[in-house]
């Protein structure tokens, strides 16, 4: 029979882990609710930006589409306990081993690159709380410096819902199969200035959308991990509690039988 003290110690350790994971589960539940709302809103407005962008790109070449430079931005989680969230992005990352313009977002991605000796050009932190729009600035500046390279690819877990996050590579500037009729709007500013504003706005919005998506994915994975951890620790606690009961019962039975035996010995002596 296992030692009761050791079992109790183990139970106490698991209870601590259980408390922590439960607290983390509550926090992530709150965060994912807010994050999903924000993501849903961005998803609604994103097509309008896409259309605007298309109206420019179909009219004239405002963005240099022939540029040979290919930028890759890989989004990873900022923190751990996200199950396979990062792992499933690794095959896409390793393919970019030779890309001189690799940009890493998220602390975990940086660790992977260092471990697998993948060189990267820039590193930026991913969001640790619900991201505000300022988070995109450093990344935006890099892209702006490079004249918004058309061939910019994004490695990211596409967030469908908490249970479905599909890893893949997408374009920063999406190509459309649908054809929109560009509108000849009458504006106060000249067309070029307007186009620049639209591109600028599009990139900002797109980057922000990606940051939110990455953050929501990270939180979603974390929530799943914590949910499983809480369930697993509960099961483990239950099993160890059973072991403690059995060990305790055995100890009691043994002690009782020894007390009874001793009593019988004393009784026999008295009779003699």
């Amino acid at each position: 029979m296992a030692d009761i003290t050791l079992l109790k110690q183990r139970l106490s350790n698991i209870s601590s882990v259980h408390e922590i994971t439960e607290a983390m589960q509550i926090i992530t539940t709150i965060l994912i609710g807010r994050s999903q709302k924000l993501l849903a809103y961005r998803r609604k407005i994103q097509p309008y930006f896409d259309r605007l962008l298309f109206s420019i790109t179909s009219r004239k070449n405002k963005i240099d589409q022939s540029s040979p430079t290919e930028f890759v931005i890989a989004f990873f989680s900022e923190k751990g306990f996200v199950s396979s969230f990062n792992q499933q992005l690794l095959p896409f990352l390793t393919k970019q081993r030779r890309n001189p313009n690799l940009i890493i977002v998220g602390e975990k991605g940086k660790h992977f690159c260092e471990r697998m000796k993948i060189p990267y050009k820039h590193f930026f932190h991913a969001a640790t709380t619900i991201p505000d729009e300022a988070i995109i600035e450093p990344l935006y500046d890099i892209l702006k410096e490079n004249n918004f390279p058309w061939k910019t690819k994004i490695i990211i877990n596409k967030y469908n819902n908490m249970f479905q996050q599909k890893p893949g590579i997408i374009d920063l500037f999406p190509a459309f199969e649908e054809v929109y009729n560009p509108t000849d709007a009458v504006t106060d500013v000249d067309q070029d200035s307007l186009d620049r504003i639209i591109i600028d706005k599009f990139v900002r919005d797109r980057l922000y959308y990606l940051f939110i998506q990455n953050y929501t994915g990270e939180i979603g994975s974390k929530l799943l991990v914590m949910k499983n951890a809480v369930e697993n620790s509960e099961l483990l606690k239950e099993e160890i509690s059973k072991d403690i009961y059995i060990a305790r019962q055995t100890a009691i039975t043994q002690e009782l039988s020894e007390v009874i035996s001793a009593y019988k010995v004393l009784q026999t002596r008295e009779e003699k």
Partner: protein, 466 residues
């Protein structure tokens, strides 16, 4: 003149016999009772051994055979000598019961030499020690709890974890790789297993160098109590007279304790801790002290020890521990993972696992294996809660290698070929050490852990990857 007593009481296997005043036989004297069998009506003789003397010229004797058919007033003959067993070369290849009858259906042995079943342990000055490894060909044993030549080894485990299979494999390996005489004492275990062993030995031709003695499950406690001692007397003959090294197997020494407890209760002794006999220490001590190597020859003993309810603090298991040179613990958790032999690497130990005896390379490899499995065990709870993916990188590597080591500790056995469909392997100790060293160094980090399961040498693992 024959000393004859009368039966005054029979309670199960305990027979109370009254002798004439002044003619009470000594403790441990054998008594003989002849009576008519109640079913066949033929005359039948049973043996009993005096265990207690009480007031009124009455002795309490423990019967070795069933007492059905006895009645009060029957004559009991005092043989004037203790229980004895045939010993010597004529016994090789034969099967005995604990009171010396041959049970293999062949002719009884003529002109055999007899030894008392209960004998004294060798004198202190006659004892001999040689710290040499006894190679079993089983990786987990040779690496983590190497057996001592001329030493005592215990195979501890609960019911159905594979103690008997390991003993059978060792008998097989002994016959094919070591040679020499071996004696097997079947104590309180399944008769079927004894039969399997006997048939297996006949098939392989090992039987000619073996003596088998069985006091199995269906026998009375008196029979089970002396089975190991009777077989030991035969081993002592080869050690002391023939001056030969002997391999002595006992399956299962716990049954010896259990038989002692049954008798103790029937004799009316007050039970000690967990209901065992108050004389547990001395009974076990007397038997274990006899299993000794002397200047004349070595007795290397391997004893299966059943652990009731997997509780290693049980007095029977605990008292056996203290007599042993090496301990191999079999774990139910490992059985549940389908890893055979289910040897627990952390609980198994050996007195000779030190760099001075087994060498620095063996010692450091064994320690590294234990350390890695220890770390893996510590991480088990965290893995169970959060999963392996959440571990730090160095722990992930530890877990990865520890799992491979755990699987590589398994091995196909010759005796279980018909069940596993895999050819049994005998792995030399140097191959075992090399294999584990290469896993520890990370040479096989890319090989899936399943490839390490039920493999003999590391070369077999490499072969499975091609």
């Amino acid at each position: 003149m024959t000393n004859i007593g009368k039966i005054v009481q029979v309670i199960g296997p305990i027979i109370d016999v009254k002798f004439p005043p002044g003619q009470i036989p000594d403790i441990r004297t054998a008594l003989k009772i002849t009576f008519k069998d109640i079913q066949s009506g033929k005359p039948q003789t049973i043996l009993a051994e005096i265990a207690l003397q009480i007031e009124g010229n009455i002795v309490k004797a423990v019967s070795l055979q069933p007492t059905e058919g006895l009645s009060r007033g029957m004559d009991v003959v005092d043989t004037g000598k203790p229980l004895e067993i045939q010993v010597g070369r004529k016994c090789l290849g034969r099967l005995f019961n604990p009171w010396g009858e041959v049970i293999d259906g062949k002719e009884p042995i003529e002109d055999a030499e007899y030894y008392p079943i209960r004998r004294q342990a060798p004198k202190f000055v006659d004892l001999a020690f040689e710290d040499k490894i006894y190679e079993t060909g089983i990786k987990a044993i040779d690496l983590l709890s190497p057996y001592v030549k001329g030493g005592k080894t215990g195979l501890f485990g609960g019911a159905g974890v594979g103690k008997t299979v390991i003993i059978m494999e060792m008998i097989h390996n002994m016959a094919t790789h070591h040679g020499g005489i071996s004696i097997f004492a079947g104590v309180g275990e399944r008769t079927r297993e004894g039969n399997d062993l006997w048939l297996g030995m006949k098939e392989t031709g090992v039987i000619d160098k073996t003596i088998l003695l069985f006091g199995q499950m269906g026998d009375l406690p008196g029979s089970r109590l002396i089975a190991a001692q009777a077989a030991l007397s035969q081993a002592e003959y080869f050690r002391d007279v023939a001056k030969q090294d002997v391999l002595f197997f006992i399956d299962n020494i716990f049954r010896f304790v259990q038989a002692g407890a049954e008798i103790s209760t029937l004799l009316g002794r007050i039970p000690s801790a967990v209901g065992y006999q108050p004389t547990l220490d001395i009974e076990m001590g007397r038997l274990e002290e006899r299993i000794a190597s002397t200047k004349n020859g070595f007795i290397t003993s391997i004893q299966a020890v059943y652990v009731p309810a997997d509780d290693f603090t049980d007095p029977a298991a605990a008292i056996t521990f203290s007599h042993l040179d090496s301990v191999t613990v079999l774990s139910r958790k490992i059985v549940e993972m389908g890893i055979y032999p289910a040897i627990d690497p952390l609980s198994s130990s050996s007195r000779i696992l030190s760099p001075d005896i087994v060498g620095e390379e063996h010692y450091s490899t064994a320690m590294a294996v234990k350390k890695m499995i220890q770390r893996y065990t510590e991480l088990q709870d965290i893995i169970a809660i959060l999963g392996v993916s959440e571990l730090p990188e160095e722990d992930k590597i530890t877990v990865n290698r520890a799992r491979k080591i755990r699987n590589f500790l398994s091995q196909p056995f010759h005796v279980s070929e018909q069940f596993t469909g895999l050819k049994g392997t005998f792995v030399k100790t140097e191959d075992t050490i090399k294999g584990f060293q290469r896993i520890l160094q990370g040479e096989f980090d890319d090989v899936p852990e399943q490839n390490f399961l039920m493999k003999g040498t590391i070369e077999e693992v490499i072969q499975s990857c091609i």
